[in-house]
Symmetry: C2
Subunit: 296 residues, 2 copies
């Protein structure tokens, strides 16, 4: 089997209150990654705005837009111009009262190859996503592009091995996670270190258990919970490209913008799955209780 | 909620051809761990013998024994004398032509608290387990002991997030993996490093995604495929005790015997699951395809 090397990239940066300025920053990063040869570029979660989910505030619904819409049009045009695939993240207004945290895939011809609506929606202090986002109802379906089939998931999904597995079972050749995660500055150094390490580890594990490369793209910068408040989230960056044995190929800093690229070989997955035949041996006859909330 | 600190241990060593000598070595390690305060001790996979699965040879079925049998009797007596729980591994002869790779749990009173028959059975060069072991038919059930509920799995199971999750959903408070895994000496240094790191990472990930401590106990030593052959497996040790955020608390060397202990706090899991509420958010309505071999 011949190699199928694909240069992939990701764009990490801080976001401000100006949606247009954020997109300009993102586009500059995409162009940089493309100039370095990336044929697929992953963006961070909700890259057009600050992470507005720190508070429940009905005014933030005004940030939403339809899909297709302005963001997909502009990124589609860019994808076509550069001849690359772009995996972006949009606060989707689907209908009155129905909003989603949606990842969109723009193909090399600029068309919308598909969308994924975040299935696992978090809600904990500083991440009030259950208020804003209706849980996805499109399931875990890999998206076909001209470069390969993509298992696009979003942030909180990255803690659920079920989601990665379902994408792998649907033929995904790469797992991709637009993300917004960070530290609480009041946490201890030890807690912050454990959290970042856990985040890197769980994603490396999705690579390992599915023999697939993984891309995760996170934002940077401190965003206050309310204007001028000291409380908020310090987004930890560390966007990374991971090989199919869980090896980190490139990894960004925690506090600087980055447009990183790395080569992944899509033919490796098939080879690895013959050396490590996990998919042959899944005990699907005995997994029924995975569909339960708890077994007692 | 008060803390529930439990000192746990594991015993890693090389095995020779003498079943009795192997058990004497194991018992010495258990006694050492108990002397250091361990109240639960995990043993490596098939610790009474060499890893006989490198070749298909019908004579090796003579190594099997019933459960309960000699090994459970002797380890049960030891567990009662020391007042500890022992998680051991037995080549179980269940009936004519039905053998299992079975983990057994001896409670503090010496009784057999339960058994787990390896559900995922590997088969690849050097690991001919499908020849020897009938796949387990007891499912993924956690075993209640006087010290807590144990999610006991075996080796190849450790690559399947489904198995860890099912044990967590059954109320397991600790995940335990008796293991026999090693390097092919002809592999490159890079391959060997990737494999060991993947093995550590996948187990740390089970801890993270389930907010549970994990114990993995592996053997050491080179065992030739055939007497005096240069081909064989160099078992890589690295037995470890991992906290519920994936942090490695203690880890043994790759080539030396070890009786390691560490303190784990069983109350941490409940606290972590409120900070990281993964179990609240599993999309059980959308996981049905996990029960399929593949989706196309």
């Amino acid at each position: 089997m011949g190699s199928r090397v694909l240069r992939v990239g990701l764009v990490q940066h801080a976001c401000g209150n100006d949606r247009e300025a954020n997109l300009v920053t993102t586009i500059a990063g995409i162009e940089q990654a493309a100039a370095e040869g990336a044929r697929l570029v992953l963006l961070q979660e909700l890259h057009r705005s600050r992470y507005f989910c720190q508070q429940e505030d009905a005014r933030h619904f005004d940030l939403a837009e339809p899909v297709p819409g302005e963001t997909t049009a502009r990124l589609g045009e860019l994808a076509a111009r550069l001849g690359i695939v772009i995996v972006a993240s949009v606060f989707e207004r689907r209908a009155a009262g129905i909003y989603h945290n949606t990842a969109v895939v723009m193909d090399t011809d600029g068309s919308l190859a598909g969308r994924y609506r975040k299935m696992h929606v978090p809600d904990d202090p500083g991440y009030c996503e259950k208020y804003y986002f209706t849980p996805g109802d499109l399931g875990f379906s890999a998206i076909q592009t001209s470069l390969g089939k993509l298992g696009v998931l979003v942030c909180w999904d990255q803690w659920f091995p079920e989601a990665a597995r379902l994408m792998a079972l649907d033929g995904a050749e790469i797992l991709l996670y637009p993300t917004a995660i960070g530290w609480d500055d009041t946490a201890t150094e030890q807690t912050r270190s454990l959290e970042l390490e856990a985040w890197l580890t769980i994603q490396r594990a999705h690579a390992i258990s599915n023999c697939l490369p993984v891309l995760a793209c996170n934002r940077t910068g401190f965003e206050p919970r309310e204007p001028d408040s000291a409380a908020g989230i310090r987004f930890w960056g560390n966007s990374c490209i991971i090989g199919p044995q869980g090896e980190i190929l490139v990894r960004a800093d925690s506090d600087a913008p980055a447009a990183l690229v790395a080569d992944i070989d899509l033919s490796q997955s098939g080879e690895l799955r013959t050396v490590w035949p996990f998919f042959r041996d899944r005990r699907i006859d005995a997994y029924g209780e995975l569909l339960k909330r708890y077994r007692s």
